[in-house]
């Protein structure tokens, strides 16, 4: 009897061992997949949060305040040099009211092409402006789709450390579109078409004035003029954006 039952027992234990091995492997596999996924998700969240934590464009003035400031006859500093600020007409107050065409405000769209350092301003299909600008060199200009949230005829911008420190009064025609990142006139350099800012979109004063008068600040429930910062603007106004902030 015992001789007969022995092979059966053996095969039974073999089957059990196989089953145990399979379950053990399956368990390990499930745990491995679970842990892998957990780390993948965790790391992705951390990296995304890190990437999206956009610092201020102007490290000092961003923290103090972003209000209108007209300081005629004041001098500024940039690149270790003293610069003469332009005179701002105190009567040309900042306004939330629309200076441009009220009826067509929803059609206005500003595109900034980071690859060519070019700004395009469209009203519907009509090109209102095409000009060279200077975007972030010492700080990145945020890529994404925004709206102008504040228009200031002039303000002070300050930031940087050591030799990179700057303090610029009477920065004219400021159009903030994301935190303290804005489109504005730059009187301290003339190097448009090349990156030259701490994250803002620098424009020639003559262009900034024209855009400021055309673009709309938010009014009631209506948002301000749309601003798209694109890695590249291809034909047919296709805005290519890598990792847009919003």
């Amino acid at each position: 009897m015992s001789k007969k039952s022995h092979p059966k027992k053996k095969s039974l234990s073999k089957t059990r061992a196989k089953k145990t091995n399979f379950f053990s492997f399956f368990k390990k596999f499930v745990v491995a997949v679970f842990v892998g996924c957990l780390f993948f998700i965790g790391t992705t969240i951390i990296l995304q949060k890190k990437a999206q934590a956009v610092p201020c464009a102007n490290s000092k003035s961003c923290v103090s305040d972003l209000s209108e400031k007209i300081e005629n006859n004041a001098t500024g500093t940039f690149a270790g040099r003293t610069v003469t600020a332009p005179t701002i007409d105190p009567n040309a107050k900042s306004t939330h009211l629309v200076l441009g065409d009220n009826t067509k405000r929803e059609d206005k769209h500003i595109y900034v092409d980071l690859s060519t350092q070019t700004l395009y301003a469209y009203q519907g299909n009509n090109l209102f402006m095409k000009t060279l600008v200077a975007t972030g060199k010492w700080g990145k200009t945020p890529v994404g789709n925004f709206h102008i949230w504040e228009k200031l005829v002039s303000t002070r911008m300050a930031g940087g450390e050591g030799a990179d420190a700057y303090d610029l009064p009477n920065v004219p025609y400021v159009m903030y579109f994301y935190h303290d990142f804005g489109l504005h006139g730059a009187y301290w350099h003339d190097n448009f078409g090349h990156t030259m800012s701490h994250g803002c979109v620098n424009m020639r004063q003559v262009d900034a004035k024209q855009l400021y008068e055309w673009a709309d600040a938010p009014s009631g429930d209506t948002p301000g003029t749309a601003v798209s910062v694109c890695n590249q603007v291809t034909g047919n106004r296709q805005c290519v954006q890598n990792n847009p902030i919003q």
């Binding site: 745990v31 957990l38 993948f40 990296l47 690149a79 040099r81 769209h109 078409g193 090349h194 020639r204």
Partner: protein, 217 residues
């Protein structure tokens, strides 16, 4: 008993290794996807509209101009071809934005193989200086002038940034002037001997000092 404990230990070690490997794999994958994001392209405007492509302004063969960044001054270049067409004469004038206060500041006669152009960033931020691009067979140079027409040196109306840089005997070759970093600082780029991008420089116009930059423009 010993065998079972050893077996258990091996099993736990195996499991731990697999967990560690999969954790690493998860991190590596997450970092890969973070560094190689999918490009998002979307039409920002209604695609049904047929936007009119903006044609660049027709080329002005005989005249071109550039407004200063503050919009108060204008530099105009007028090119006149001689009858024999062997040379072209260039006349540069500045005016106020409304066309008043016209002043001739520079003239040049060049063979057809050379030309002068007004760069977009020609004006210094304070409108005291301008630079012109001189295009030759060998490349381009930057001529620096006073916007009021006064001479730059005791003998010359202008000075050449490329020549000035070459005289310094650096291992780099002057490539292109991009614009003004401040009221008196011109930014120019250079190339290495193998043609790759070299360092950028500042040229301090009043002193003609050349300063190498750590930042590339």
């Amino acid at each position: 008993m010993n065998m079972t404990r050893r077996h258990q230990l091996t099993f736990e070690l195996e499991t731990l290794s697999i967990i560690a490997i999969s954790a690493c794999l998860g991190i590596v994958l997450a970092m890969y996807f973070h560094n190689h994001p999918k490009k998002i392209s979307f039409p920002v405007m209604d695609t049904q509209l047929s936007p009119t492509p903006t044609a660049p302004p027709p080329p002005q063969v005989d005249s071109s101009s550039q407004t200063s960044p503050d919009g108060t001054k204008k530099l105009t270049m007028t090119i006149t071809s001689k009858n024999d067409a062997d040379t072209k004469s260039y006349i540069f004038t500045t005016t106020d934005a409304d066309g008043s206060n016209q002043q001739q500041i520079y003239t040049a006669i060049l063979p057809p193989t050379e030309s002068l152009t007004i760069p977009f960033n020609t004006w210094s931020p304070d409108n005291k200086y301008i630079f012109l691009q001189h295009n030759t067979k060998e490349g381009n140079e930057a001529l620096v002038l006073r916007a009021n027409g006064e001479p730059m040196t005791e003998t010359d109306q202008s000075f050449n940034a490329a020549t000035l840089f070459a005289a310094r005997g650096t291992p780099y070759t002057y490539q292109e002037t991009t614009g003004w970093a401040s009221e008196t600082l011109l930014i120019f780029n250079t190339t290495n001997a193998d043609g790759t991008k070299g360092p950028s420089y500042w040229l301090e116009v009043p002193s003609k000092a050349v300063i190498q930059l750590s930042t590339e423009f």
